[in-house]
């Protein structure tokens, strides 16, 4: 013990830095990410699943729904501003969030921690799925905005491949999970459900909602692969019944 500091004093790593009180912009980006997940992305998902549900009525009804959506004013602008860009941001920022967190369910295998981890994996599945889905169904093959009658057959051909079918089923479940838990998280983190009891009750509601969405989605998939509309025509004649009115915009 000298009077001076030990010359070979070890160096400690700096560790987590203190809060940068009031500094920086992550608050804005993070809240934007969170909000976009609900509107417009969540709202769009809801619309999409409802539209898909038309498939149970057959190729003609499904085509009519596609045609209706494509007839909305400024549909291409809506499509980019309210669907593609938000999903792109939500997805990429979501990956960034994931990379900055360190999952530790090995040591802390608690329910909330599992959900935290699951939200990240389901999000990743969603991005990958949505990427290929948009590419193959919106931008490749026959153009549906111009040929809405081809919608049913295009999906049916895609799902004829059992691998693709599996991808759709997994993605459907993952996305419904991600959305349902996302709503719960949104409510918890924006202080809408501030108490333990409120969060628990809302958890049941979200679980039921997610389950309903997933069942609806899977039922729609069944419409394409089931026996009822086997070998649908490439271009179905559209039924001109009044199409149901839904908020939002849509492209299959």
């Amino acid at each position: 013990m000298a009077t001076a500091q030990n010359p070979s004093t070890p160096t400690m790593r700096p560790g987590v830095q203190p809060l940068r009180a009031g500094q920086g912009t992550t608050f804005l980006w993070r809240k934007l990410h969170s909000l976009l997940g609900i509107v417009p992305i969540g709202a769009f998902l809801l619309e999409h699943l409802l539209s898909n549900f038309e498939a149970l009525k057959g190729p003609a009804a499904y085509g009519a729904q596609v045609k209706f959506l494509n007839s909305l004013p400024l549909v291409r602008v809506l499509e980019w501003v309210f669907i593609f860009l938000p999903i792109l941001y939500h997805g990429l920022y979501g990956v960034y969030i994931w990379l900055r967190g360190k999952s530790n369910i090995v040591y802390y295998p608690w329910a909330g921690n599992w959900m935290y981890t699951a939200q990240r994996y389901t999000g990743l599945i969603a991005i990958l799925y949505i990427g290929q889905h948009v590419l193959r169904q919106r931008f490749m093959g026959i153009s549906l905005p111009e040929n809405p009658g081809a919608a049913f057959a295009k999906v049916q051909h895609e799902l004829a491949n059992p691998w693709m079918l599996a991808v759709y089923i997994i993605a459907m479940i993952a996305i419904c999970w991600h959305f349902a838990y996302g709503i719960w998280l949104f409510a918890a983190k924006w202080g809408i459900t501030p108490g333990t009891t409120a969060r628990k009750r809302f958890g049941y509601i979200c679980a039921a909602f997610g389950l309903a969405l997933a069942i609806m989605g899977l039922a729609s998939i069944w419409a394409f692969v089931g026996p009822t509309y086997r070998n649908a025509p490439d271009i179905a004649p559209l039924s001109y019944l009044a199409a149901p009115v839904h908020a939002g915009s849509h492209t299959v």
Partner: protein, 592 residues
């Protein structure tokens, strides 16, 4: 001269209280603490803090608080400072309330009070059963605020080693050891306040925290400070025996209606719940009908000793008695005692809502301490002391919930006094003794680290704890005290052959401990020999061979000073200030 520089050593209630007062008055403070101040031992205080606010319509007054304190302390405390403390107490509670301490409340939104030992009034304000924690946090927050404003600099993880004294014996700073880098440094100051708590560690296991070694007190004692009333050690009646420490079970358990009992039949092996009321011996209630379970701690402790060792009525023949809360409803218990019941459940694994707790007395508080004058200054000019480390407020026995108020009052007093002293201090000659003191400390360190021998400091400490607990706690015999002192002397001898298994220069905890141990050994002699000198029984100091209080000979403050000699400290006696309340016999079986 620029604004005076004050060093405060210790970041418990007393230290933080002093820091706040100095910062508020414009002084700058360096605050030294072994642990981050928020982890100081004050967090362990449970039951509450006394102040005669008389919010229960009982006719309580500060005079009655003063009388209870003096009477409870068996008239050994100087009355002037105690009177001032009791008068300041209501204001202190108000201040703490303003700082945000979450005291329990009445339905009208006022402070709630409960009864504690040694009084018949509900005088104790409380925040659940973690009052010390809540008080410490409130002061910690205020200090953090002053720190953020640049008025306070914290040295957490530094251990005080010694005072720096100039050629005239005036304090000019301190030396301290960085417990991480093991750097030894001296720090200049115009005044120093020690607020370094109790000395529980010399008893091995106690209710005190690990840092309560008394090392700082002992260090300045060895530099010439007087140590007063060292023999007065409070053994708390209700502690949970444990492997590493004795965990306090607050007096508030009895304040809220807890009852102490043992089975009437020796060795009764039935579970507590199956023993009918008639076969339970509520010995405190029977022996002390007026105060019942809320007799002062020294009385309760001796009663438990008597029931266990003389009457052989300990539970299952073990040194334990029941502390029973099971007759009180769960909601009330959780609201008022939650914290301590959780401790019991966690560490014993039994739910005290359902089964009576098993408790036994444990060393708890140091009534004695560094001698200070009424301005909180020691006999070394420039060194002040406040809190448990000084001797002033509790006489021969401390009443429950008086310690928190004495810490804060002492700190509030010491801070401004130190600042005033420092403002009038002439500049030192030369370097004020810094180089010499630093060299002395460096030499001690070098010797210790290079020492070759076969002794392990932790083992020596255990032996010290055993002998102190056996002979210098509840019941004292001169023969035992002599034996204890001989043992301590032999431990001091063996200390010279300490061999540190860790000789590194980075976060070397055994090195720091070995330095504390030397100081513990020295202060243990003060306690033991002080007890040997005092042939009477007063408050916590009880000698069966001298069962009565002897005011003629011993209504005096014991003052020990360091001799540096193997014969041990020198003792002298000082008159006690009894100008307000004439000493009278102390008994708790009837109203006083």
């Amino acid at each position: 001269m620029a604004s005076p520089r004050i060093i405060v050593v210790g970041g418990g209630l007393a230290g933080l209280a002093a820091v706040i007062k100095i910062a508020e008055a414009g002084g700058s403070v360096d605050l030294f603490s072994i642990v981050p101040v928020k982890r100081s031992h004050s967090v362990c205080a449970q039951g509450g803090i006394n102040a005669a606010k008389d919010l229960k319509g009982e006719g309580d007054s500060t005079d009655k608080h003063f009388d209870d304190t003096i009477y409870g302390g068996d008239f050994l405390a100087n009355q002037t400072p105690v009177k001032a403390m009791c008068e300041a107490a209501p204001g202190i509670i108000d201040l703490l309330d303003r700082m945000g301490v979450p005291f329990n409340r009445t339905p009208e939104g006022l402070l709630d009070f409960r009864r504690f030992g040694g009084t018949l009034y509900q005088r104790t304000a409380f925040a659940g059963a973690t009052t010390g924690q809540q008080l410490l946090y409130a002061l910690d927050e205020q200090v953090r605020r002053h720190e953020a404003e640049g008025k306070v600099k914290k040295y957490e993880g530094w251990e005080f080693l010694s005072a720096v004294l100039d050629s005239k014996g005036v304090a000019r700073g301190i030396t301290a050891l960085d417990l991480r880098t093991m750097e030894l440094r001296s720090f200049p100051a115009d005044a120093i306040i020690l607020a370094t708590g109790g000395i529980g560690a010399i008893f091995g296991k106690s209710t005190n925290s690990v840092v309560c070694t008394g090392s700082a007190q002992s260090a300045i004692f060895q530099q010439g400070a007087w140590y007063a009333n060292g023999e007065f050690i409070q053994v708390h009646p209700t502690a949970i025996p444990g492997e590493d420490k004795l965990r306090l079970m607050s007096e508030s358990a009895r304040g809220e209606g807890g009852r102490v009992w043992v089975p009437r039949k020796p060795g009764d092996s039935r579970p507590a719940k199956q023993i009918p009321e008639a076969e339970r011996f509520y010995f405190l209630e029977e022996w002390y009908p007026k105060y019942g379970n809320l007799v002062p701690r020294d009385i309760a402790t001796r009663a438990i000793h008597r029931v266990v060792y003389q009457e052989g009525l300990g539970i299952d023949g073990q040194p334990m008695v029941y502390l029973d809360l099971t007759h009180i409803d769960r909601a009330t218990l959780d609201r008022k005692l939650g914290g301590i019941l959780e401790i019991y459940e966690k560490f014993v694994g039994v739910d005290p809502h359902v089964e009576p707790m098993k408790i036994f007395p444990g060393m708890h508080y140091t009534m004695g301490g560094i001698w200070v004058d009424f301005n909180q200054m020691t006999n070394i000019p420039g060194i002040f002391a406040a809190g448990e480390c000084e001797y002033q407020y509790h006489g021969a026995n401390r009443l429950g919930a008086n310690s928190l108020v004495s810490c804060i009052f002492g700190g509030f007093h010491a801070g401004p006094n130190a600042l005033n002293y420092a403002k009038n201090l002439p500049a030192p000659e030369g370097d004020g003794g810094h180089a010499a003191e630093l060299a002395r400390q460096a030499e001690i360190n070098t010797r210790l680290i290079k020492n070759e021998g076969g002794e392990n400091p932790f083992k020596l400490w255990r032996e010290l704890g055993q002998i102190m607990t056996e002979h210098v706690t509840v019941i004292r015999f001169n023969k035992g005290l002599q034996k204890a002192d001989e043992k301590i002397v032999s431990l001091i001898e063996r200390y010279k052959r300490i061999n540190l298994s860790d000789k590194s220069q980075w976060a070397n905890t055994s090195f720091a401990f070995a330095r504390q141990l030397k100081n513990m050994l020295e202060i243990s002699r003060v306690v033991t020999l002080g007890a040997l000198q005092r042939d009477e029984s007063r408050g916590a100091h009880y000698k069966p061979d001298f069962p009565d209080r002897n005011d003629e000979k011993f209504l005096k403050t014991t003052k020990a000073s360091y001799s540096g000699d193997v014969v041990g400290p020198r003792f002298e006696f000082e008159e006690v200030d009894t100008q307000y309340i004439k000493p009278r016999p102390r008994r708790y079986d009837v109203a006083k």
